[in-house]
Symmetry: C3
Subunit: 271 residues, 3 copies
Amino acid sequence: MPSSTDLVHAVSADLEKIREAAPLVLSLTNSVVQPLTANLLLAAGAVPAMLNDAEEAVEMLRGGAGALLVNLGTVTREQGAVMQTAVQEANRLGIPWVLDPVAVGALSLRTRLAEQLKERRPRIIRGNASEIMALAGYSSVTKGPESTSSSADALQAARELALHTGAAVLVTGRTDYSTDGRQVIATENGHAMMSRVTGVGCSMGALAAACAAVSSSPLQAAVSTAVLMGIAGEMAFEQSPAPGSFAVSLLDSLYSLSPEEVARRARILPL
Amino acid sequence: MPSSTDLVHAVSADLEKIREAAPLVLSLTNSVVQPLTANLLLAAGAVPAMLNDAEEAVEMLRGGAGALLVNLGTVTREQGAVMQTAVQEANRLGIPWVLDPVAVGALSLRTRLAEQLKERRPRIIRGNASEIMALAGYSSVTKGPESTSSSADALQAARELALHTGAAVLVTGRTDYSTDGRQVIATENGHAMMSRVTGVGCSMGALAAACAAVSSSPLQAAVSTAVLMGIAGEMAFEQSPAPGSFAVSLLDSLYSLSPEEVARRARILPL
Amino acid sequence: MPSSTDLVHAVSADLEKIREAAPLVLSLTNSVVQPLTANLLLAAGAVPAMLNDAEEAVEMLRGGAGALLVNLGTVTREQGAVMQTAVQEANRLGIPWVLDPVAVGALSLRTRLAEQLKERRPRIIRGNASEIMALAGYSSVTKGPESTSSSADALQAARELALHTGAAVLVTGRTDYSTDGRQVIATENGHAMMSRVTGVGCSMGALAAACAAVSSSPLQAAVSTAVLMGIAGEMAFEQSPAPGSFAVSLLDSLYSLSPEEVARRARILPL
């Protein structure tokens, strides 16, 4: 099992690799968060691409995409079909893909879709406690896109979901948990203000895809995502303690984040 | 008839209730303004939810939504059908809903849709002068999403529309007018810079829905919306007199708004 | 051939005319960049309108639109049909329209659509080097929405495309080139940070439409677009050297831009 120090070094290495490789992340994501998601990927050093057509999704993946994000936030039947095609092609090409099952459990269309997609070898699944519990087959209560359970409540569900799917599962909350079903790594970076800006959680899914494109393992990619986003959130709040300016500072902080800052702030606890 | 002082207290009370109850506002709104709308609801203390599927809209309403927003800004035939279903379910459940008839009068698809929806008991209708006049059956001239009439021009139309529909009507402009058809309340908070940021008007519709979820009456909810947004706009302009930073400060101001500031700045004139 | 000094004066005149005339720019553009595009048009002094329905597009054009933008960034078959209808009506009415062929060459649906649209008399075509080369029939390599060629590589393609279509072609990059096929004008305003914010390039297409509504010629409109956006980018970077705050400052800078600043900073080189 890696030490906390090894894990911190690996987080910095992932950020460095994103900045060097500038992986193209095809992001099939909900309309509310598209601007923030694209800007967050750019701030991290990745290249976002978004589109709505199945044929074009296949072409974009073949043209050199490093990762695929599938976020179900405002999905329609038509977009669900595009996602299915994209996932099939990503798997054929060996491109890692991330599933972000927004509000799954509460809403039928996306729950049916997520049930299918989770069987198709996502490399990472990112969700809040309610979403992860629902996707693992636990009953849970959701209030719109917000979780009503704590991330610790979802830990057992996350492990089972990871073992069932082969994905690393990242449960985000006050403490974030990353697990491949065997190891569990808790990370405690972040700030409550992140939940007062729309799309921060969804952007973590996109960052997870960027990390998956370069990282040594899906589990490390999940840890790197939680720590990088969390540190950027902490730094942003120190600059800007209200939500409008916080969102601006979040992008600035991620863009400017140094390995020294990562080393100084990362709170990683292998369990 | 309530005094100005009573009305000011009720505005602060509505803000406090939003922050305590955190009502879920299902926002079926146009793609241009989705990020600002969601962020404004979060800044006010509400919880935004957005989606594109009729079945999911019904489920979200049944799952505890406090209010529904229907904004026609970039509507398609498909989204119109989702809106019709959502309005029917909101009425069945007694959930208040707000109609924001963006650019109605000038454009056929949304005008036909708004004509149907206005008969289905919206709790609040929010629009600029041109939109309210068009929806009330007056002829008017619109330049895209901008009104070419003043809000005072629309006052008679607003009263008639309120009496016909049973809704409180909020006509936004340099002076905002709220009316239930009998009472008219003028409010004079706000700043011209609000019209230089896309989605501020549409976000007022969303804030009206949040207010409708907690307020003592639709008329009070309309007044609270106009005053809270207007004060946030005034404070934002004092911090940030250019439109990019103004939009950021608008969210910060609403998030930080205190009852003292409301009492100090509110300009409410029962007519 | 106009001198650099004449061209600089014409840039300032175009900005002044946008602020006075406030042209309505119907922007059929991709969902990722809609908020920034609308806000950038507002910051420049224009009035944005966005919609998704063919009948409404025709009505909006007839109702007094000054220009039309067609941006293919997240196009679907349905939106492609709306665009075709809008272009036909714009041509019938003599309203200038701008084609922004995002990622054309790499992706089939939009490439087929762009091949058709380029034959329908766009007044301006704006793209990066890869997009312009692809649209002119050169083979090129694209990495998602990013160009892998320099704008100078695309100069011959741009001239041919301009002569074939009758449009002014604006190739954006480190140096921007504007050409009507005979004259070529290089402009060297801007900053690399502009490529770290999603939608800045797409917003240039919208600004080009606003300029086309008021300018003396399509070629001048292209030059004005490149210079105004480039100067706003330079000023923004001086205020805000990280991408979140840079995007905010970009809008502020364009809003506040004075003729003196244009005269002081414009770098225009007729070739």
